[in-house]
Symmetry: C2
Subunit: 325 residues, 2 copies
Protein backbone atom coordinates (compact mmCIF):
# COMPACT_ATOMS: atom_id res chain seq x y z
CA UNK A 1 0.00 0.00 0.00
CA UNK A 2 1.23 3.50 -0.83
CA UNK A 3 2.35 5.48 2.18
CA UNK A 4 0.59 8.71 3.11
CA UNK A 5 2.89 11.54 2.01
CA UNK A 6 3.11 14.15 4.77
CA UNK A 7 4.47 17.68 4.67
CA UNK A 8 5.16 19.78 7.76
CA UNK A 9 4.68 23.54 7.46
CA UNK A 10 6.37 25.41 10.31
CA UNK A 11 9.03 23.98 12.58
CA UNK A 12 8.43 25.12 16.14
CA UNK A 13 7.47 22.87 19.06
CA UNK A 14 4.46 21.44 17.22
CA UNK A 15 6.41 20.86 13.99
CA UNK A 16 9.07 18.96 15.94
CA UNK A 17 6.44 16.77 17.59
CA UNK A 18 4.78 16.08 14.24
CA UNK A 19 8.11 15.02 12.74
CA UNK A 20 8.67 12.60 15.63
CA UNK A 21 5.21 11.06 15.24
CA UNK A 22 5.32 10.83 11.43
CA UNK A 23 8.71 9.12 11.23
CA UNK A 24 7.38 6.57 13.74
CA UNK A 25 4.22 5.84 11.70
CA UNK A 26 4.88 2.98 9.30
CA UNK A 27 2.04 4.00 6.96
CA UNK A 28 3.44 7.53 6.48
CA UNK A 29 6.32 9.12 4.64
CA UNK A 30 7.73 12.54 5.54
CA UNK A 31 8.22 14.41 2.25
CA UNK A 32 9.51 17.70 3.60
CA UNK A 33 9.61 20.22 6.41
CA UNK A 34 8.93 23.79 5.29
CA UNK A 35 10.14 26.70 7.36
CA UNK A 36 10.95 30.39 7.07
CA UNK A 37 14.53 29.39 7.79
CA UNK A 38 16.04 27.22 5.07
CA UNK A 39 18.51 24.36 5.48
CA UNK A 40 18.16 24.00 9.25
CA UNK A 41 18.85 20.47 10.50
CA UNK A 42 15.81 18.76 11.99
CA UNK A 43 15.60 15.32 13.60
CA UNK A 44 15.67 13.59 10.19
CA UNK A 45 15.93 16.25 7.46
CA UNK A 46 16.94 19.75 6.54
CA UNK A 47 14.24 22.39 6.28
CA UNK A 48 13.07 23.62 2.89
CA UNK A 49 12.19 27.28 2.45
CA UNK A 50 8.46 27.78 2.81
CA UNK A 51 8.58 29.91 -0.35
CA UNK A 52 9.08 26.66 -2.30
CA UNK A 53 5.92 24.98 -1.02
CA UNK A 54 4.01 25.29 -4.33
CA UNK A 55 6.59 23.06 -6.04
CA UNK A 56 5.31 20.22 -3.83
CA UNK A 57 1.68 20.52 -4.89
CA UNK A 58 1.34 16.95 -6.19
CA UNK A 59 3.93 15.38 -3.93
CA UNK A 60 2.15 15.79 -0.59
CA UNK A 61 -1.11 14.13 0.47
CA UNK A 62 -1.55 16.03 3.74
CA UNK A 63 0.20 19.25 4.72
CA UNK A 64 0.24 19.65 8.50
CA UNK A 65 0.25 23.33 9.45
CA UNK A 66 2.25 23.84 12.62
CA UNK A 67 1.98 27.60 13.01
CA UNK A 68 0.12 29.54 15.68
CA UNK A 69 -3.53 30.52 15.72
CA UNK A 70 -3.01 34.22 16.34
CA UNK A 71 -1.20 35.28 13.19
CA UNK A 72 0.04 32.25 11.17
CA UNK A 73 -2.99 30.06 10.55
CA UNK A 74 -5.54 32.73 9.56
CA UNK A 75 -3.26 33.57 6.61
CA UNK A 76 -1.60 30.21 5.89
CA UNK A 77 -4.67 27.96 6.12
CA UNK A 78 -6.74 29.66 3.39
CA UNK A 79 -3.70 30.14 1.15
CA UNK A 80 -2.32 26.60 1.41
CA UNK A 81 -5.70 24.87 1.18
CA UNK A 82 -5.87 26.07 -2.44
CA UNK A 83 -3.16 23.52 -3.32
CA UNK A 84 -3.03 21.04 -0.43
CA UNK A 85 -5.15 19.06 1.97
CA UNK A 86 -4.37 20.85 5.23
CA UNK A 87 -4.63 20.00 8.89
CA UNK A 88 -4.16 22.55 11.66
CA UNK A 89 -4.63 23.13 15.37
CA UNK A 90 -6.50 26.45 15.11
CA UNK A 91 -7.58 27.07 18.70
CA UNK A 92 -9.04 30.56 18.90
CA UNK A 93 -12.46 29.24 19.99
CA UNK A 94 -14.36 32.44 19.20
CA UNK A 95 -13.11 32.56 15.61
CA UNK A 96 -13.61 28.88 14.72
CA UNK A 97 -16.97 29.35 12.92
CA UNK A 98 -15.57 32.10 10.68
CA UNK A 99 -12.34 30.18 9.96
CA UNK A 100 -14.28 26.99 9.24
CA UNK A 101 -16.59 28.71 6.80
CA UNK A 102 -13.70 30.38 4.97
CA UNK A 103 -11.80 27.05 4.71
CA UNK A 104 -14.92 25.16 3.64
CA UNK A 105 -15.45 27.45 0.66
CA UNK A 106 -11.84 27.23 -0.49
CA UNK A 107 -11.68 23.45 -0.11
CA UNK A 108 -14.88 22.93 -2.08
CA UNK A 109 -13.59 25.18 -4.87
CA UNK A 110 -10.12 23.61 -4.93
CA UNK A 111 -11.18 19.98 -4.43
CA UNK A 112 -9.13 19.84 -1.27
CA UNK A 113 -10.00 19.04 2.32
CA UNK A 114 -9.04 21.12 5.36
CA UNK A 115 -9.32 19.62 8.83
CA UNK A 116 -9.25 22.41 11.40
CA UNK A 117 -8.82 22.72 15.18
CA UNK A 118 -7.15 19.36 15.81
CA UNK A 119 -5.51 18.87 19.19
CA UNK A 120 -6.72 18.12 22.67
CA UNK A 121 -8.78 21.27 23.27
CA UNK A 122 -10.23 21.95 20.79
CA UNK A 123 -9.99 18.31 19.74
CA UNK A 124 -10.43 15.27 21.87
CA UNK A 125 -12.00 17.15 24.77
CA UNK A 126 -14.51 18.49 22.22
CA UNK A 127 -15.30 14.92 21.22
CA UNK A 128 -16.02 14.12 24.86
CA UNK A 129 -18.24 17.20 25.26
CA UNK A 130 -20.36 16.23 22.23
CA UNK A 131 -20.48 12.51 23.06
CA UNK A 132 -21.38 13.13 26.70
CA UNK A 133 -24.00 15.78 25.93
CA UNK A 134 -25.62 13.57 23.31
CA UNK A 135 -25.95 10.51 25.53
CA UNK A 136 -26.82 12.43 28.70
CA UNK A 137 -28.74 15.49 27.47
CA UNK A 138 -30.34 16.11 30.86
CA UNK A 139 -27.12 17.11 32.60
CA UNK A 140 -24.29 19.56 32.80
CA UNK A 141 -20.63 19.43 31.87
CA UNK A 142 -17.49 21.09 33.06
CA UNK A 143 -14.06 21.43 31.51
CA UNK A 144 -11.02 21.85 33.75
CA UNK A 145 -7.44 22.44 32.63
CA UNK A 146 -4.14 21.77 34.32
CA UNK A 147 -2.00 21.59 36.20
CA UNK A 148 -0.16 22.86 33.16
CA UNK A 149 1.57 25.72 31.45
CA UNK A 150 -0.66 28.23 29.68
CA UNK A 151 1.34 29.82 26.89
CA UNK A 152 -1.17 32.64 26.55
CA UNK A 153 -0.97 33.62 30.21
CA UNK A 154 2.82 33.25 30.26
CA UNK A 155 3.02 35.56 27.25
CA UNK A 156 0.71 38.07 28.91
CA UNK A 157 3.09 38.33 31.88
CA UNK A 158 6.12 38.60 29.58
CA UNK A 159 4.55 41.65 27.94
CA UNK A 160 4.67 43.55 31.25
CA UNK A 161 7.49 46.10 31.35
CA UNK A 162 10.47 44.92 33.38
CA UNK A 163 9.66 41.20 33.03
CA UNK A 164 12.42 39.08 31.45
CA UNK A 165 10.59 35.78 31.36
CA UNK A 166 7.62 34.09 33.00
CA UNK A 167 5.80 30.82 33.27
CA UNK A 168 2.14 30.55 34.30
CA UNK A 169 0.57 27.32 35.51
CA UNK A 170 -3.19 26.87 35.41
CA UNK A 171 -4.23 24.74 38.38
CA UNK A 172 -7.69 23.15 38.66
CA UNK A 173 -9.13 23.38 42.17
CA UNK A 174 -9.81 20.10 43.94
CA UNK A 175 -12.98 21.29 45.67
CA UNK A 176 -14.67 22.04 42.36
CA UNK A 177 -13.26 18.95 40.62
CA UNK A 178 -14.42 16.65 43.41
CA UNK A 179 -17.85 18.25 43.55
CA UNK A 180 -18.34 17.69 39.82
CA UNK A 181 -17.06 14.11 40.04
CA UNK A 182 -19.63 13.40 42.74
CA UNK A 183 -22.34 14.40 40.27
CA UNK A 184 -23.10 17.80 41.79
CA UNK A 185 -24.05 20.45 39.25
CA UNK A 186 -23.13 23.72 40.96
CA UNK A 187 -22.35 26.94 39.14
CA UNK A 188 -18.75 27.87 39.73
CA UNK A 189 -17.09 31.22 39.23
CA UNK A 190 -13.80 31.27 37.32
CA UNK A 191 -12.06 31.74 40.68
CA UNK A 192 -13.67 28.59 42.11
CA UNK A 193 -12.54 26.37 39.23
CA UNK A 194 -8.94 27.39 38.59
CA UNK A 195 -6.00 29.01 40.33
CA UNK A 196 -3.20 30.79 38.44
CA UNK A 197 0.36 30.27 39.68
CA UNK A 198 3.08 32.46 38.14
CA UNK A 199 6.87 32.27 38.15
CA UNK A 200 8.32 35.60 37.11
CA UNK A 201 11.85 36.77 36.33
CA UNK A 202 12.43 40.53 36.72
CA UNK A 203 15.00 42.72 34.99
CA UNK A 204 15.68 44.46 38.32
CA UNK A 205 14.57 42.38 41.25
CA UNK A 206 13.80 45.13 43.79
CA UNK A 207 11.01 45.42 46.33
CA UNK A 208 9.42 48.27 44.36
CA UNK A 209 9.54 46.35 41.08
CA UNK A 210 8.05 43.25 42.69
CA UNK A 211 5.21 45.33 44.09
CA UNK A 212 4.50 47.00 40.74
CA UNK A 213 4.61 43.82 38.63
CA UNK A 214 2.61 41.88 41.22
CA UNK A 215 -0.15 44.47 40.96
CA UNK A 216 -0.04 44.58 37.17
CA UNK A 217 -0.49 40.83 36.99
CA UNK A 218 -3.29 40.61 39.56
CA UNK A 219 -5.31 43.40 37.95
CA UNK A 220 -4.89 42.32 34.33
CA UNK A 221 -8.42 41.91 32.93
CA UNK A 222 -9.50 38.57 31.32
CA UNK A 223 -6.19 36.91 32.11
CA UNK A 224 -5.85 37.29 35.90
CA UNK A 225 -8.31 39.68 37.54
CA UNK A 226 -11.04 37.04 37.95
CA UNK A 227 -8.74 34.47 39.60
CA UNK A 228 -6.81 33.84 42.75
CA UNK A 229 -3.19 34.31 41.75
CA UNK A 230 0.03 33.11 43.35
CA UNK A 231 3.16 34.93 42.22
CA UNK A 232 6.76 33.81 42.78
CA UNK A 233 9.67 35.99 41.75
CA UNK A 234 12.60 33.77 40.82
CA UNK A 235 15.92 33.97 39.02
CA UNK A 236 16.33 33.22 35.32
CA UNK A 237 18.51 30.22 36.27
CA UNK A 238 15.76 28.76 38.44
CA UNK A 239 13.15 29.32 35.71
CA UNK A 240 15.33 27.54 33.16
CA UNK A 241 16.11 24.70 35.52
CA UNK A 242 12.74 24.00 37.10
CA UNK A 243 10.21 25.23 34.55
CA UNK A 244 11.59 24.12 31.21
CA UNK A 245 8.92 21.57 30.24
CA UNK A 246 5.38 22.01 28.96
CA UNK A 247 3.19 19.60 30.91
CA UNK A 248 -0.58 19.98 30.85
CA UNK A 249 -3.79 18.19 31.66
CA UNK A 250 -7.47 18.50 30.88
CA UNK A 251 -10.74 17.08 32.16
CA UNK A 252 -14.25 16.99 30.72
CA UNK A 253 -16.76 15.78 33.28
CA UNK A 254 -20.49 15.54 32.72
CA UNK A 255 -23.12 14.38 35.14
CA UNK A 256 -26.82 14.06 34.64
CA UNK A 257 -29.76 11.75 35.01
CA UNK A 258 -31.66 9.55 32.60
CA UNK A 259 -34.99 11.30 33.26
CA UNK A 260 -35.27 9.30 36.50
CA UNK A 261 -33.66 9.19 39.93
CA UNK A 262 -30.65 7.50 38.32
CA UNK A 263 -27.66 9.70 37.71
CA UNK A 264 -24.42 9.05 35.92
CA UNK A 265 -21.00 10.65 35.73
CA UNK A 266 -18.79 10.55 32.62
CA UNK A 267 -15.21 11.76 32.53
CA UNK A 268 -12.45 12.05 29.98
CA UNK A 269 -9.09 13.18 31.24
CA UNK A 270 -5.65 13.60 29.71
CA UNK A 271 -2.40 14.12 31.59
CA UNK A 272 0.55 15.15 29.46
CA UNK A 273 4.28 15.47 29.99
CA UNK A 274 4.54 17.53 26.82
CA UNK A 275 1.66 19.55 25.46
CA UNK A 276 3.22 20.09 21.99
CA UNK A 277 4.24 16.44 21.51
CA UNK A 278 0.82 15.21 22.54
CA UNK A 279 -0.96 17.73 20.31
CA UNK A 280 1.29 16.62 17.44
CA UNK A 281 0.42 12.97 17.98
CA UNK A 282 -3.26 13.78 17.72
CA UNK A 283 -2.63 15.78 14.55
CA UNK A 284 -0.78 12.89 12.93
CA UNK A 285 -3.57 10.39 13.71
CA UNK A 286 -6.08 12.82 12.20
CA UNK A 287 -3.84 13.28 9.14
CA UNK A 288 -4.52 9.60 8.42
CA UNK A 289 -8.27 10.23 8.68
CA UNK A 290 -8.06 13.33 6.51
CA UNK A 291 -6.20 11.41 3.82
CA UNK A 292 -8.79 8.63 3.81
CA UNK A 293 -11.75 10.98 3.67
CA UNK A 294 -10.26 12.99 0.83
CA UNK A 295 -9.63 9.71 -1.02
CA UNK A 296 -13.36 8.99 -0.57
CA UNK A 297 -14.15 12.29 -2.25
CA UNK A 298 -14.85 14.58 0.70
CA UNK A 299 -13.81 18.21 0.12
CA UNK A 300 -14.25 21.49 2.02
CA UNK A 301 -13.61 21.78 5.74
CA UNK A 302 -14.13 19.37 8.62
CA UNK A 303 -13.56 19.36 12.35
CA UNK A 304 -12.78 16.37 14.58
CA UNK A 305 -16.51 16.09 15.26
CA UNK A 306 -17.07 15.03 11.64
CA UNK A 307 -14.61 12.12 11.66
CA UNK A 308 -15.50 8.51 12.53
CA UNK A 309 -12.94 7.13 15.00
CA UNK A 310 -12.13 4.12 12.81
CA UNK A 311 -10.53 6.47 10.28
CA UNK A 312 -7.82 7.46 12.79
CA UNK A 313 -6.49 3.99 13.24
CA UNK A 314 -3.73 2.21 11.36
CA UNK A 315 -5.77 -0.97 11.91
CA UNK A 316 -8.43 -2.01 9.40
CA UNK A 317 -12.12 -1.84 10.30
CA UNK A 318 -12.17 -5.65 10.53
CA UNK A 319 -9.27 -5.66 13.00
CA UNK A 320 -10.86 -2.89 15.06
CA UNK A 321 -14.17 -4.77 15.28
CA UNK A 322 -12.55 -8.02 16.30
CA UNK A 323 -9.96 -6.60 18.72
CA UNK A 324 -11.09 -3.25 20.07
CA UNK A 325 -14.88 -3.00 19.80
Amino acid sequence: MAKIRIGIYGYGNIGKGVELAVVNSSDMELVGIFSRRENISTLTKKTISSTKIKEYKDKIDVLILCGGSATDLPLQGPELLKDFNTLDSFDTHAKIPEYFSQMDKIGKTSNTLGLISVGWDPGILSIARVLFQSILPNGKDYTFWGKGVSQGHSDAIRRIKGVVDARQYTVPLDDALNSVRKGETKDFSAREKHLRECFVVLEKDTEAERKRVDKEIRTMPNYFSDYDVIIHFISLEELKEKHNTLPHAGFVIRSGNTYSKNSHVLELNVKLDSNPEFTSSIMVAYARALYRMHQEGVTGALSVLDIPLSKLSSFSSEELRSKML
Copy 2:
Protein backbone atom coordinates in the same frame (compact mmCIF):
# COMPACT_ATOMS: atom_id res chain seq x y z
CA MET B 1 -38.58 19.16 10.70
CA ALA B 2 -40.08 15.67 10.69
CA LYS B 3 -39.44 13.76 13.88
CA ILE B 4 -37.45 10.54 13.82
CA ARG B 5 -39.97 7.70 14.14
CA ILE B 6 -38.71 5.14 16.65
CA GLY B 7 -39.92 1.61 17.34
CA ILE B 8 -38.87 -0.42 20.40
CA TYR B 9 -38.59 -4.18 19.96
CA GLY B 10 -38.54 -5.99 23.31
CA TYR B 11 -39.64 -4.50 26.62
CA GLY B 12 -37.24 -5.58 29.35
CA ASN B 13 -34.92 -3.26 31.29
CA ILE B 14 -33.34 -1.88 28.13
CA GLY B 15 -36.68 -1.37 26.38
CA LYS B 16 -37.94 0.59 29.39
CA GLY B 17 -34.84 2.78 29.37
CA VAL B 18 -35.17 3.42 25.64
CA GLU B 19 -38.81 4.46 26.08
CA LEU B 20 -37.79 6.94 28.80
CA ALA B 21 -35.05 8.45 26.61
CA VAL B 22 -37.14 8.61 23.42
CA VAL B 23 -40.15 10.34 25.01
CA ASN B 24 -37.72 12.93 26.39
CA SER B 25 -36.09 13.60 22.99
CA SER B 26 -37.90 16.41 21.23
CA ASP B 27 -36.71 15.33 17.78
CA MET B 28 -38.12 11.79 18.16
CA GLU B 29 -41.53 10.19 18.13
CA LEU B 30 -42.24 6.79 19.70
CA VAL B 31 -44.37 4.86 17.20
CA GLY B 32 -44.77 1.59 19.07
CA ILE B 33 -43.36 -0.86 21.58
CA PHE B 34 -43.35 -4.44 20.35
CA SER B 35 -43.29 -7.32 22.80
CA ARG B 36 -44.09 -11.02 23.02
CA ARG B 37 -46.78 -9.98 25.51
CA GLU B 38 -49.49 -7.85 23.93
CA ASN B 39 -51.39 -4.96 25.53
CA ILE B 40 -49.14 -4.52 28.54
CA SER B 41 -49.09 -0.97 29.90
CA THR B 42 -45.75 0.75 29.55
CA LEU B 43 -44.75 4.22 30.74
CA THR B 44 -46.59 5.89 27.84
CA LYS B 45 -48.22 3.17 25.69
CA LYS B 46 -49.54 -0.36 25.51
CA THR B 47 -47.37 -3.01 23.93
CA ILE B 48 -48.14 -4.31 20.46
CA SER B 49 -47.60 -8.00 19.70
CA SER B 50 -44.21 -8.49 18.05
CA THR B 51 -45.95 -10.70 15.48
CA LYS B 52 -47.43 -7.48 14.03
CA ILE B 53 -44.08 -5.79 13.41
CA LYS B 54 -44.17 -6.18 9.60
CA GLU B 55 -47.28 -3.96 9.45
CA TYR B 56 -45.06 -1.09 10.60
CA LYS B 57 -42.49 -1.45 7.80
CA ASP B 58 -42.90 2.09 6.46
CA LYS B 59 -43.94 3.72 9.71
CA ILE B 60 -40.67 3.39 11.62
CA ASP B 61 -37.34 5.05 10.78
CA VAL B 62 -35.26 3.21 13.38
CA LEU B 63 -36.23 0.03 15.19
CA ILE B 64 -34.28 -0.29 18.45
CA LEU B 65 -33.77 -3.94 19.34
CA CYS B 66 -33.83 -4.39 23.10
CA GLY B 67 -33.38 -8.17 23.36
CA GLY B 68 -30.39 -10.05 24.70
CA SER B 69 -27.25 -11.04 22.84
CA ALA B 70 -27.36 -14.73 23.73
CA THR B 71 -30.54 -15.84 22.00
CA ASP B 72 -32.66 -12.84 20.88
CA LEU B 73 -30.42 -10.66 18.72
CA PRO B 74 -28.74 -13.37 16.59
CA LEU B 75 -32.22 -14.26 15.28
CA GLN B 76 -34.03 -10.91 15.48
CA GLY B 77 -31.29 -8.68 14.02
CA PRO B 78 -30.95 -10.41 10.65
CA GLU B 79 -34.71 -10.95 10.34
CA LEU B 80 -35.77 -7.39 11.21
CA LEU B 81 -33.02 -5.69 9.20
CA LYS B 82 -34.75 -6.97 6.06
CA ASP B 83 -37.53 -4.42 6.69
CA PHE B 84 -36.15 -1.88 9.15
CA ASN B 85 -33.09 0.13 10.05
CA THR B 86 -32.06 -1.58 13.28
CA LEU B 87 -29.93 -0.66 16.25
CA ASP B 88 -28.88 -3.16 18.90
CA SER B 89 -26.52 -3.67 21.84
CA PHE B 90 -25.06 -7.01 20.69
CA ASP B 91 -22.26 -7.57 23.20
CA THR B 92 -20.89 -11.06 22.68
CA HIS B 93 -17.43 -9.73 21.79
CA ALA B 94 -16.19 -12.97 20.18
CA LYS B 95 -19.14 -13.14 17.78
CA ILE B 96 -19.20 -9.48 16.70
CA PRO B 97 -17.27 -10.00 13.41
CA GLU B 98 -19.61 -12.78 12.29
CA TYR B 99 -22.74 -10.88 13.33
CA PHE B 100 -21.49 -7.70 11.64
CA SER B 101 -20.79 -9.48 8.38
CA GLN B 102 -24.21 -11.16 8.38
CA MET B 103 -25.96 -7.84 9.09
CA ASP B 104 -23.86 -6.00 6.50
CA LYS B 105 -24.96 -8.35 3.72
CA ILE B 106 -28.64 -8.14 4.64
CA GLY B 107 -28.59 -4.34 4.97
CA LYS B 108 -26.90 -3.89 1.60
CA THR B 109 -29.45 -6.18 -0.08
CA SER B 110 -32.43 -4.60 1.67
CA ASN B 111 -31.30 -0.96 1.47
CA THR B 112 -31.40 -0.74 5.23
CA LEU B 113 -28.78 0.12 7.84
CA GLY B 114 -28.00 -1.90 10.96
CA LEU B 115 -25.97 -0.33 13.75
CA ILE B 116 -24.67 -3.05 16.03
CA SER B 117 -23.07 -3.29 19.47
CA VAL B 118 -24.17 0.08 20.81
CA GLY B 119 -23.82 0.65 24.56
CA TRP B 120 -20.96 1.46 26.87
CA ASP B 121 -18.86 -1.67 26.36
CA PRO B 122 -18.93 -2.42 23.49
CA GLY B 123 -19.69 1.19 22.67
CA ILE B 124 -18.24 4.28 24.18
CA LEU B 125 -15.38 2.45 25.89
CA SER B 126 -14.55 1.05 22.43
CA ILE B 127 -14.42 4.59 21.08
CA ALA B 128 -11.92 5.46 23.80
CA ARG B 129 -9.80 2.38 23.04
CA VAL B 130 -9.57 3.27 19.33
CA LEU B 131 -9.06 7.01 19.90
CA PHE B 132 -6.39 6.47 22.57
CA GLN B 133 -4.53 3.79 20.58
CA SER B 134 -4.53 5.94 17.45
CA ILE B 135 -3.11 9.04 19.11
CA LEU B 136 -0.71 7.18 21.40
CA PRO B 137 0.33 4.08 19.40
CA ASN B 138 3.45 3.51 21.47
CA GLY B 139 1.61 2.56 24.65
CA LYS B 140 -0.68 0.13 26.36
CA ASP B 141 -4.29 0.27 27.47
CA TYR B 142 -6.34 -1.35 30.17
CA THR B 143 -10.09 -1.70 30.64
CA PHE B 144 -11.51 -2.07 34.14
CA TRP B 145 -15.13 -2.66 35.07
CA GLY B 146 -17.08 -1.93 38.22
CA LYS B 147 -17.94 -1.69 40.93
CA GLY B 148 -21.06 -3.04 39.31
CA VAL B 149 -23.43 -5.91 38.85
CA SER B 150 -22.44 -8.48 36.24
CA GLN B 151 -25.59 -10.13 34.93
CA GLY B 152 -23.62 -12.97 33.39
CA HIS B 153 -21.88 -13.85 36.63
CA SER B 154 -25.08 -13.45 38.65
CA ASP B 155 -26.82 -15.82 36.24
CA ALA B 156 -23.97 -18.32 36.50
CA ILE B 157 -24.46 -18.48 40.28
CA ARG B 158 -28.23 -18.79 39.91
CA ARG B 159 -27.74 -21.89 37.76
CA ILE B 160 -26.11 -23.71 40.70
CA LYS B 161 -28.46 -26.25 42.30
CA GLY B 162 -29.93 -25.00 45.56
CA VAL B 163 -29.47 -21.29 44.75
CA VAL B 164 -32.65 -19.22 44.82
CA ASP B 165 -31.14 -15.91 43.69
CA ALA B 166 -27.77 -14.19 43.51
CA ARG B 167 -26.07 -10.93 42.72
CA GLN B 168 -22.42 -10.67 41.66
CA TYR B 169 -20.45 -7.43 41.82
CA THR B 170 -17.30 -7.01 39.75
CA VAL B 171 -14.87 -4.82 41.71
CA PRO B 172 -11.78 -3.23 40.11
CA LEU B 173 -8.73 -3.41 42.36
CA ASP B 174 -7.24 -0.10 43.44
CA ASP B 175 -3.63 -1.30 43.29
CA ALA B 176 -3.90 -2.12 39.59
CA LEU B 177 -6.02 0.95 38.78
CA ASN B 178 -3.59 3.30 40.51
CA SER B 179 -0.58 1.68 38.87
CA VAL B 180 -2.12 2.17 35.42
CA ARG B 181 -3.10 5.76 36.22
CA LYS B 182 0.49 6.49 37.15
CA GLY B 183 1.52 5.42 33.66
CA GLU B 184 2.97 2.05 34.62
CA THR B 185 2.46 -0.65 32.00
CA LYS B 186 2.58 -3.88 34.00
CA ASP B 187 0.99 -7.13 32.93
CA PHE B 188 -1.77 -8.02 35.34
CA SER B 189 -3.44 -11.38 35.86
CA ALA B 190 -7.25 -11.44 35.94
CA ARG B 191 -6.96 -11.82 39.74
CA GLU B 192 -4.87 -8.66 40.04
CA LYS B 193 -7.34 -6.50 38.10
CA HIS B 194 -10.74 -7.50 39.48
CA LEU B 195 -12.33 -9.07 42.53
CA ARG B 196 -15.70 -10.86 42.44
CA GLU B 197 -18.09 -10.30 45.33
CA CYS B 198 -21.21 -12.49 45.49
CA PHE B 199 -24.44 -12.27 47.46
CA VAL B 200 -26.21 -15.61 47.41
CA VAL B 201 -29.61 -16.77 48.62
CA LEU B 202 -29.90 -20.52 49.33
CA GLU B 203 -32.98 -22.72 49.25
CA LYS B 204 -31.80 -24.39 52.48
CA ASP B 205 -29.34 -22.21 54.37
CA THR B 206 -27.35 -24.93 56.19
CA GLU B 207 -23.64 -25.17 56.91
CA ALA B 208 -23.31 -28.08 54.46
CA GLU B 209 -25.14 -26.24 51.68
CA ARG B 210 -23.04 -23.10 52.20
CA LYS B 211 -19.88 -25.20 51.97
CA ARG B 212 -21.00 -26.95 48.78
CA VAL B 213 -22.22 -23.82 46.95
CA ASP B 214 -19.17 -21.83 48.09
CA LYS B 215 -16.93 -24.44 46.50
CA GLU B 216 -18.99 -24.65 43.32
CA ILE B 217 -18.73 -20.89 42.84
CA ARG B 218 -15.01 -20.65 43.58
CA THR B 219 -14.10 -23.49 41.21
CA MET B 220 -16.36 -22.47 38.31
CA PRO B 221 -14.08 -22.15 35.26
CA ASN B 222 -14.00 -18.86 33.26
CA TYR B 223 -16.43 -17.15 35.62
CA PHE B 224 -14.74 -17.44 39.03
CA SER B 225 -11.77 -19.81 39.22
CA ASP B 226 -9.24 -17.18 38.07
CA TYR B 227 -10.37 -14.56 40.60
CA ASP B 228 -10.36 -13.84 44.29
CA VAL B 229 -13.96 -14.29 45.34
CA ILE B 230 -15.88 -13.03 48.37
CA ILE B 231 -19.14 -14.86 49.07
CA HIS B 232 -21.93 -13.69 51.39
CA PHE B 233 -24.94 -15.88 52.07
CA ILE B 234 -27.93 -13.66 52.78
CA SER B 235 -31.71 -13.88 52.96
CA LEU B 236 -33.97 -13.20 50.00
CA GLU B 237 -35.35 -10.17 51.88
CA GLU B 238 -31.89 -8.69 52.26
CA LEU B 239 -31.08 -9.32 48.59
CA LYS B 240 -34.27 -7.58 47.53
CA GLU B 241 -33.72 -4.68 49.88
CA LYS B 242 -30.02 -3.99 49.45
CA HIS B 243 -29.18 -5.29 45.98
CA ASN B 244 -32.12 -4.24 43.83
CA THR B 245 -30.35 -1.74 41.56
CA LEU B 246 -27.98 -2.22 38.64
CA PRO B 247 -25.10 0.19 39.10
CA HIS B 248 -21.94 -0.20 37.08
CA ALA B 249 -18.78 1.58 36.06
CA GLY B 250 -16.04 1.24 33.49
CA PHE B 251 -12.59 2.67 32.84
CA VAL B 252 -10.35 2.72 29.78
CA ILE B 253 -6.88 3.97 30.63
CA ARG B 254 -3.99 4.17 28.18
CA SER B 255 -0.48 5.36 28.87
CA GLY B 256 2.43 5.65 26.51
CA ASN B 257 5.10 7.97 25.23
CA THR B 258 5.44 10.11 22.13
CA TYR B 259 8.65 8.35 20.99
CA SER B 260 10.56 10.40 23.56
CA LYS B 261 10.98 10.59 27.32
CA ASN B 262 7.56 12.27 27.51
CA SER B 263 4.70 10.07 28.59
CA HIS B 264 1.00 10.71 28.75
CA VAL B 265 -2.02 9.12 30.40
CA LEU B 266 -5.52 9.17 28.90
CA GLU B 267 -8.61 7.99 30.71
CA LEU B 268 -12.30 7.66 29.99
CA ASN B 269 -14.50 6.57 32.83
CA VAL B 270 -18.22 6.15 33.32
CA LYS B 271 -20.02 5.67 36.65
CA LEU B 272 -23.63 4.62 36.38
CA ASP B 273 -26.54 4.33 38.80
CA SER B 274 -28.41 2.21 36.27
CA ASN B 275 -26.64 0.15 33.66
CA PRO B 276 -29.79 -0.45 31.52
CA GLU B 277 -30.93 3.19 31.58
CA PHE B 278 -27.47 4.43 30.63
CA THR B 279 -27.11 1.86 27.85
CA SER B 280 -30.54 2.92 26.57
CA SER B 281 -29.54 6.57 26.50
CA ILE B 282 -26.53 5.74 24.37
CA MET B 283 -28.71 3.68 22.02
CA VAL B 284 -31.15 6.55 21.56
CA ALA B 285 -28.37 9.05 20.72
CA TYR B 286 -27.00 6.58 18.15
CA ALA B 287 -30.51 6.07 16.73
CA ARG B 288 -30.34 9.73 15.69
CA ALA B 289 -26.99 9.08 13.97
CA LEU B 290 -28.28 5.93 12.28
CA TYR B 291 -31.28 7.80 10.92
CA ARG B 292 -29.10 10.58 9.52
CA MET B 293 -26.62 8.21 7.90
CA HIS B 294 -29.38 6.15 6.28
CA GLN B 295 -30.89 9.40 4.98
CA GLU B 296 -27.49 10.10 3.39
CA GLY B 297 -27.66 6.75 1.60
CA VAL B 298 -25.51 4.52 3.82
CA THR B 299 -26.68 0.89 3.94
CA GLY B 300 -25.30 -2.35 5.40
CA ALA B 301 -23.91 -2.57 8.91
CA LEU B 302 -21.97 -0.11 11.06
CA SER B 303 -20.52 -0.02 14.53
CA VAL B 304 -20.03 3.01 16.78
CA LEU B 305 -16.49 3.29 15.39
CA ASP B 306 -17.92 4.28 11.99
CA ILE B 307 -20.01 7.21 13.23
CA PRO B 308 -18.83 10.83 13.44
CA LEU B 309 -19.72 12.26 16.85
CA SER B 310 -21.57 15.24 15.35
CA LYS B 311 -24.25 12.84 14.08
CA LEU B 312 -25.26 11.92 17.64
CA SER B 313 -26.17 15.40 18.65
CA SER B 314 -29.51 17.16 18.47
CA PHE B 315 -27.50 20.33 17.81
CA SER B 316 -26.55 21.31 14.26
CA SER B 317 -22.93 21.13 13.09
CA GLU B 318 -22.79 24.95 13.19
CA GLU B 319 -23.97 25.02 16.80
CA LEU B 320 -21.52 22.30 17.79
CA ARG B 321 -18.60 24.15 16.21
CA SER B 322 -19.46 27.42 17.88
CA LYS B 323 -20.41 26.08 21.32
CA MET B 324 -18.72 22.75 21.95
CA LEU B 325 -15.62 22.47 19.74
